[in-house]
């Protein structure tokens, strides 16, 4: 035969390999809430956190905490996603997942003006899983992003009411995505990769009116995760030669996060916190999978920067050591309708938060719960998944044990629960 071209099947078919998982919270795949106390207060703590978890929320905060403190705990999360196809049809529910995100923080006062802290936590990740034969199987069947961050911090306190913290983030990540391949190719493709990314953070905490008003601001830099892994394509055997498996290299940029918060204590027993976050999800606009043996795969995500508003209240009850907390979050999704995809069926969220804290001598236990109500979000173009409406309901339950030793020099606000 000669040169007549009838068909040439080649490798770009896995272009829809999904990179990123997550469904449960905080817009995109950021899980902002990392401790029992913060979860209960809607994480409106940038201006008030002095516990070791301040390493994440505002590294300046550890300068106003106990001289020696550490905490450990976990955040349990789960979510139910439901997809309603456009034009009718049976609703599809995701496969429920249960995730435990551990956290551990510690801080130490080195001198009166220098504090050192470290945190280990997971704030990016989670996953989604849909039935293997669901209508959007070509977009995703199962996807998971797991991360672990190591975050050392140094905090200076040049003035008794002002502290500045600077931190370094080293993020280890692993990505595992499985999706169906379109007919007539059939079968599935799985992508897995792991790697490191590095970033920095800085925070300032100012006791504007001692015992009354504090102001905090934090910036966490974007982090580019550089990951190497493999794509394993398992189509019908007839297509195996045209769709080579092989090594892959990719980079995934986690967003810059700007946080601004005010903490106000109208009466000694009540602390109010109001925070605003800007999460620069526009960093997640495109992902390129570079392969050794085939053409690059380019995925356009087109996410946008998102605003999150938080309010929290902490009431020191008449029962000594017992605090009751509540919070409310409005979280604007970074995912436009036209690029909504089932691996990240994100939506605007309204979160209701409740929790308790109890402190006995040097031991403090905090329990927080968030009900995460995703507003219905409709995928309108079918570009990255089937057209239809996603509805999601998620839950966070966080428990943190904190061990604190020594008296803080001064807290941002007078802490009524301090023993």
């Amino acid at each position: 035969m000669g040169t007549k071209r009838m068909l040439l099947i080649r490798a770009a078919l896995v272009a829809a390999v999904v990179l990123v998982a997550a469904q449960a919270r905080a817009g995109g795949f950021l899980v902002y809430d990392v401790s029992g106390e913060a979860v209960a207060k809607g994480s409106a703590v940038v201006a008030s956190s002095t516990a070791p978890d301040a390493v994440w929320y505002n590294p300046a905060g550890i300068a106003f905490g106990a001289p020696y403190q550490f905490s450990l705990g976990t955040v349990y999360t789960t979510a139910d996603n439901t997809f309603s196809p456009k034009g009718g049809g049976k609703d599809v529910g995701s496969v429920p997942g249960n995730y435990f995100l551990p956290h551990l923080f510690a801080s130490v006062r080195a001198t009166d003006w220098l504090y050192v802290g470290v945190g280990g936590y997971s704030v990016y990740g989670l996953g989604t899983e849909w039935p293997k034969d669901w209508v959007g199987r070509v977009s995703t069947i199962k996807s998971a992003l797991t991360t672990a961050t190591i975050n050392p911090t140094i905090t200076f306190k040049p003035h008794k009411d002002v502290a500045i913290g600077i931190g370094f983030d080293a993020v280890r990540s692993a990505l595992d995505a499985n999706q169906g391949l379109p007919e007539p190719i059939g079968g599935t493709a799985r992508f897995g990769a792991a790697g490191w990314g590095y970033g920095a953070n800085v925070g300032v905490l100012w006791r504007a009116i001692p015992d009354k008003l504090s102001v905090g601001v934090t910036y966490r830099s974007r982090i580019t995760l550089v990951m190497d892994g493999r794509i394993d394509v398992a189509p019908r055997p007839e297509f195996l030669r045209d769709l080579p498996s092989g090594k892959v290299h990719t980079e995934l940029t986690l967003p810059d996060i700007f946080a601004f918060g005010v903490s106000f204590r109208p009466v000694p027993e009540v602390e109010l916190g109001v925070d605003a976050n800007i999460v620069a999800w526009s960093t997640y606009d495109k992902t390129v999978l570079k392969r050794d043996n085939a053409a690059d795969i380019v995925m356009d995500h087109g996410w946008t920067d998102a605003l999150v508003l938080r309010i929290g209240v902490d009431w020191a009850t008449p029962v000594k050591g017992l605090n009751v907390r509540a919070g409310l979050i409005y979280d604007k999704t970074p995912v436009p309708d036209e690029v909504l995809e089932p691996s990240t069926p994100d939506a605007d969220q309204i979160d209701v938060c409740l929790g308790l804290g109890y402190q006995w001598k040097w031991l403090k236990a905090d329990l927080g719960y968030q009900l995460i109500a995703f507003l219905p979000h409709e995928a309108t173009t079918g570009r990255l998944g089937p057209e239809g409406k996603y509805t999601t309901l998620g839950h966070f339950l966080a428990l943190t044990m904190t061990f604190q030793f020594g008296e803080p020099a001064v807290r941002p606000l007078a802490a009524s629960a301090t023993p």
């Binding site: 035969m1 000669g2 040169t3 007549k4 071209r5 009838m6 068909l7 040439l8 099947i9 080649r10 770009a12 078919l13 001289p67 020696y68 550490f70 450990l72 551990p102 551990l104 510690a106 130490v108 470290v118 280990g120 997971s122 990740g125 797991t146 991360t147 672990a148 190591i150 280890r172 990540s173 692993a174 990505l175 595992d176 379109p182 007539p184 190719i185 799985r190 992508f191 897995g192 990769a193 792991a194 892994g229 493999r230 794509i231 394993d232 394509v233 398992a234 019908r236 055997p237 007839e238 297509f239 195996l240 030669r241 045209d242 080579p244 498996s245 040097w362 061990f403 030793f405 020594g406």
Partner: protein, 460 residues
């Protein structure tokens, strides 16, 4: 202060230990590379018209309008005047012209089925490589299989030649029960061979155009359209689907897959490649020394030329200077010695037992080169002239079969070695056919010849 110091001394190792534990655990859980498996990639029987790696011969180059082989369908433009062009060697050009004169492939043509790796000869069983005669509803029995290591082609040789006027469907069984390809040392039993992606599409039960009548009407949501538009422009994808659908429908109209299943015992799911090809309908005096298809000498005077297909005896007449006929018997040794009488021995010809039987009036001299020529004046009962076998076409070529470096000048179909072997005979016949006296005596032109062969009597 003492209490604080004591607390400090306790907390540091505890915190440090917990932190290390957390970091280690977190990295173990979150940082590990997912265990991504690796698929074993099978080899495939190829069917890629874009690269020419398709089984041959193939019905794909039969022009539906003319019913004849059309090399342009294979991307080859054949010049009308082979002597007035330089695009290809004269011999190649004439061979293409010959093919384009046929309504099917020569009966001595071997078949090939390209694969992505050389097949293991032991797996080439009669149950794994099957050719079915659609018209006669039976499998073709006499096949010899081989492997061309250089080209990775499976070769299928009809040991007694194909029948004339037949439509064959060939297939190779792949997958678990079929042929196996040579693989790495550790693959002791070889590697599984499957259908190519194109073949997979041709085996689909539904329209590759999703029911559309024209390329423009193919819906963008058609899965085959979606598949192709990921790798080629929209218009090209539509054109490809139209072409593929034509092939799919063509094979379907022939009942090719079903015939291979029912007659060949090879289920569609196990067919790694399937193709169809016709043989020419005209009768032919086959000539292929490798198959033993040669004139047969009986005694000192009789030469038999076996004919495949029917012959109208009335069209079979012996040529002489006095009586023009359709069959020639020449003593080239005598002619070379200017012995015209000895060079044109008197003979008679008849049709018996499916052969042209040439009987000389006197003994033919041992050691002389005896040539037999048959013209297109010999026809079958339907009035269709004999067609030449490929080797006759090569022997009467006006251009050399090898160049100065020994390369075949018909590289599409003839190896360097075969071309070199035939070149001597071709040169001899060229001397004869280009001789003006011979031409004036016989009135023969190359185009009139349906059979040419010379041999050292009595050993063809």
């Amino acid at each position: 202060m003492d209490g604080q110091r004591a607390s400090r001394s306790r907390i540091r190792p505890i915190a440090g230990g917990l932190l290390l534990l957390w970091i280690g655990g977190a990295l173990a859980l979150a940082g590990c590379m997912p265990d991504i498996g690796t698929q074993t990639v099978p080899e495939a029987m190829e069917f890629d018209p874009g690269t020419g790696r398709v089984p041959q011969p193939t019905v794909l180059v039969i022009n539906p309008a003319t019913g004849k082989i059309d090399m342009s369908l294979a991307g080859v433009t054949v010049p009308a005047d082979c002597l007035a062009q330089t695009a290809m060697p004269v011999a190649q050009c004439e061979f293409y012209q010959y093919l384009q004169s046929l309504d099917g492939f020569p009966t001595t043509a071997g078949a090939i089925a390209p694969a992505t790796a050389a097949l293991i000869p032991a797996s080439l069983k009669a149950t794994n490589v099957v050719v079915v005669d659609i018209a006669r509803q039976k499998t073709f029995p006499d096949l010899a299989f081989g492997v061309d290591e250089a080209t990775k082609n499976l070769t299928i040789d009809p040991t007694a030649g194909w029948d004339v006027g037949a439509l064959y469907v060939g297939a190779v069984r792949g997958y678990a029960n079929g042929v196996k390809a040579v693989g790495p040392v550790e693959a002791v039993d070889g590697i599984e061979v499957v259908a190519s992606s194109v073949m997979f599409l041709l085996k689909e039960e539904t329209s590759l155009m999703c029911g559309a009548a024209t390329a423009a009407d193919i819906p963008a949501s058609c899965p085959y359209m979606t598949l192709l538009t990921q790798q080629m422009p929209d218009a090209e994808a539509r054109a490809s689907l139209v072409s593929l659908e034509a092939v799919r429908q063509g094979l379907g109209a022939l009942g090719a897959f079903g015939a291979m299943t029912d007659l060949g015992g090879m289920p569609k799911a196990e067919q790694a490649v399937l193709w169809a090809f016709p043989t020419h309908s005209a009768s032919v005096i086959e000539l292929d020394p490798t198959k033993g298809l040669l004139p047969k000498v009986n005694g000192t005077r009789e030469i038999r030329l076996k004919v495949k297909g029917e012959v109208d005896p009335a069209t079979v007449t012996a040529w002489s200077l006095d009586a023009p006929g359709t069959v020639f018997l020449l003593d080239l040794t005598a002619l070379a010695n200017d012995d015209l009488g000895g060079g044109l021995p008197a003979f008679s010809v008849a049709v018996a037992d499916g052969a042209l039987v040439l009987t000389a009036d006197a003994d033919l001299p041992d050691g002389h080169t005896i040539a037999t020529l048959v013209t297109t004046g010999v026809k079958n009962p339907a009035g269709v002239a004999l067609v030449a076998p490929p080797i006759t076409v090569l022997l009467k070529s006006r251009g050399p079969l090898v160049d100065a470096q020994g390369h075949s000048q018909v590289p599409s179909d003839v190896s360097d070695g075969d071309a070199a072997q035939l070149e001597g005979g071709r040169a001899d016949f060229a001397t004869l056919l280009d001789d003006e006296l011979f031409a004036s005596l016989t009135g023969l032109a190359r185009a009139d010849l349906a059979y040419v062969y010379g041999f050292n009597f009595p050993n063809p």
